[in-house]
Symmetry: C2
Subunit: 400 residues, 2 copies
């Protein structure tokens, strides 16, 4: 397992933007960091790029630093007012790992299994039946809509508060099927540093995810320093009800928004009402978000995280079913967007695991074999340990 | 015409929250105000209520000030962390006047008239035909859905940027049918002071309006100091398209969200993801927003603006078709919510008109007679000047 060696800059104190409440930060550096943040925000001085220690010297790092200095340094001919420094980030595959399948799918699988006894009718549903039989590939074959179908079946009927509580409980306990880490430990350390670097330079960063907005909000602030009001995602419609005189919002099975592909540009406009000047994604689902960002006037930064590291993470692009990067990769080459080569550009992949993390073998394994992309190296097969009914195991990335 | 006598505190410098870019403020007081704002935000000291000069000493003013001091003063047993200090404001009838009909309706009427020659099929549509014949009462008879129908017919097909441009042009030129003022001069001075007072005490204020989000955003920052990302409203769905390789978002006639009644609670949850601790409305359309706010734990402030001033503005509540306040008025009495009596509590109603405002008779008058509520005094009939085809004029409120 690769463990991040640099955690000091994981979060920076913002002091003034209202997100410090739940952030962990190093008390010993506290005063100096607050002062630095106040100065940075008050006078908009660019904060130096030493804040990106896990980024090796590379064209991608240079492009990011050059862009930030262009837009954030007073007197720069391309200076951008602070309120217009909006950056948008895809989540799955951009801020945290998305293989062998989206975390929210594992959350939903756990809910399907727990709720199945009360829902005999699910045996009639192809997608849900596939999950219950452990065949995630089949369940995923329906694409984004099948994913939303699973989400709707398992999330609907809960109040928003009940749902948030179920997410909090799951995210604190669940383990990634391939690595045994908590999902919040599948977060990319270099991207945390990048979020902090942008924050220190007056950017407002938003998550714009194909995942459910209510699946994200319970943990994004503690994990990324991104508060609930800056999280945009797919959603089910909710319904206002009075229960014994107390208002609740109940999740319905009706899809409100699929925040993927063109939906990302649509939702950025609906929720933010400003065009971002920087966008970060990793798949074709991020194409329109990057196009929308790129089409504004003035300096723009469009970045694709390219999953090239089969040893420390996963290597996949054009042929992957999860996080497919094909059309957007061509577009990046044509438009000169910035490609981050994870293997080459990042000295560390994942955040440091919490001290309390008990090492243990994967409690559940999952590897939709159909999702194994051409070009993704064959991994060793699991020796054992996959619980009955679990999908085929895709073992943890190896440490190099 | 009533003109606000106090403008100094109309906006306060925030310095750090990214909204100063387009705000007007008094340069002579600039440095002192920035310093005060920095201190207020950094150390969360309550800013004193002298910031509410247009509010007479009254129970409503006392309730507001007491609440703000409870939640914003460090050491208060009811202290609320700054990031949780979320306030939500209805717009029509709460931040600006909504009589004799919503401003966006007049915007849409102007568009219907301009676009009608190209749309002979509108003669078949009951609502649009009513507008073209000057019968706004009939057009409004279909309620919220008719309103959205008008909006869809006249707004759809434009790109979001074309639409924003049409709003900017209209809001700069259009005059209120009863007063001849610009619509942004139909804004309530005491509410601007309240927005500034909350801002100075670390609150993030959002508009949550039944009006269209894209109708609001082009002018809310300059008018209220509320930036685009804090504006929530009704919306038509938009569609991402590439036109000659350039991405655009095109408004469709399909309703995305009706941000009224229960829709306000739903959208607050969807867009903000935090429950507000303060809510301000004026009609039954704000009931669920106030209920949702009130139901949270800890101190809450729920306020209804009661239109009681037939001389300086309009007096209406239970029987009005526009801004009907009936069920929510009962709920306010039952729950002890704060009622603002506009006639009694406000020394000034409207913001000061801009110096450039040329006084002229109403260019268009409108008074859906069916909207004249019981209890709203009969106004003098217009002497003349209503263009042919215009609805019956409802003359300007008189100065007392």
């Amino acid at each position: 397992m690769i463990i991040a060696t640099t955690k000091a800059s994981m979060f920076s104190a913002t002091g003034l933007t209202g997100v410090t409440g739940t952030l962990r930060w190093d008390r010993r550096e506290g005063a100096a960091r607050i002062l630095a943040a106040v100065l940075a925000l008050s006078f908009a001085l660019p904060v130096c790029a030493a804040a990106l220690p896990s980024w090796r010297a590379s064209p991608s790092r240079a492009a990011i630093v050059e862009f930030v200095e262009r837009v954030a340094r007073p007197g720069s001919p391309d200076f951008v007012a602070q309120e217009e420094r909006v950056a948008v980030f895809d989540n799955d595959g951009t801020l945290w790992a998305e293989q062998p399948a989206y975390a929210q799918l594992f959350f939903a699988i756990d809910r399907v299994k727990a709720m199945a006894p009360e829902h005999p009718e699910w045996a009639e549903n192809e997608t849900l039946r596939a999950i219950l039989s452990g065949d995630i590939s089949a369940a995923l074959a329906g694409g984004e809509r099948a994913f939303m179908e699973i989400i709707a079946a398992t999330h609907a009927g809960l109040t928003t508060e009940e749902f948030a509580e179920s997410v909090r409980a799951w995210i604190a306990a669940a383990r990634h099927p391939a690595t045994g880490r908590r999902y919040t430990e599948m977060v990319y350390q270099p991207m945390l540093e990048l979020l902090g670097y942008l924050r220190d330079n007056g950017f407002a960063s938003y998550i714009v995810s194909g995942g459910g907005v209510e699946f994200l909000r319970p943990w994004t602030e503690a994990t990324y320093g991104i508060p609930p009001e800056r999280v945009i995602g797919s959603s089910l419609r909710t319904k206002f009800e009075l229960r014994d005189g107390t208002p609740v919002l109940v999740k319905t099975p009706e899809v409100g928004s699929v925040d993927d592909g063109p939906g990302k540009a649509v939702n950025i406009d609906l929720h933010i009402g400003r065009r971002p000047i920087a966008a970060f994604g990793n798949s074709d689902g991020d194409l329109q978000m990057l196009q929308w960002t790129a089409a504004g006037e003035g300096p723009r930064l469009c970045v694709l995280i390219h999953h090239t590291d089969a040893e420390r993470e996963w290597a996949y692009d054009r042929a992957s079913k999860v996080g497919k990067l094909d059309v957007a990769l061509d577009e990046a080459e044509r438009r000169g967007w910035t490609l981050v080569d994870m293997k080459r550009d990042w000295s560390v992949i994942f955040v440091e695991a919490t001290a309390a993390l008990e090492r243990r073998p994967p409690s559940r394994a999952a590897a939709p074999s159909g999702d194994r992309a051409a070009g993704v190296p064959t991994r060793r097969e699991p020796a054992s340990g996959a619980p009955e009914g679990s999908p085929t195991a895709d073992p943890a990335p190896t440490q190099d």
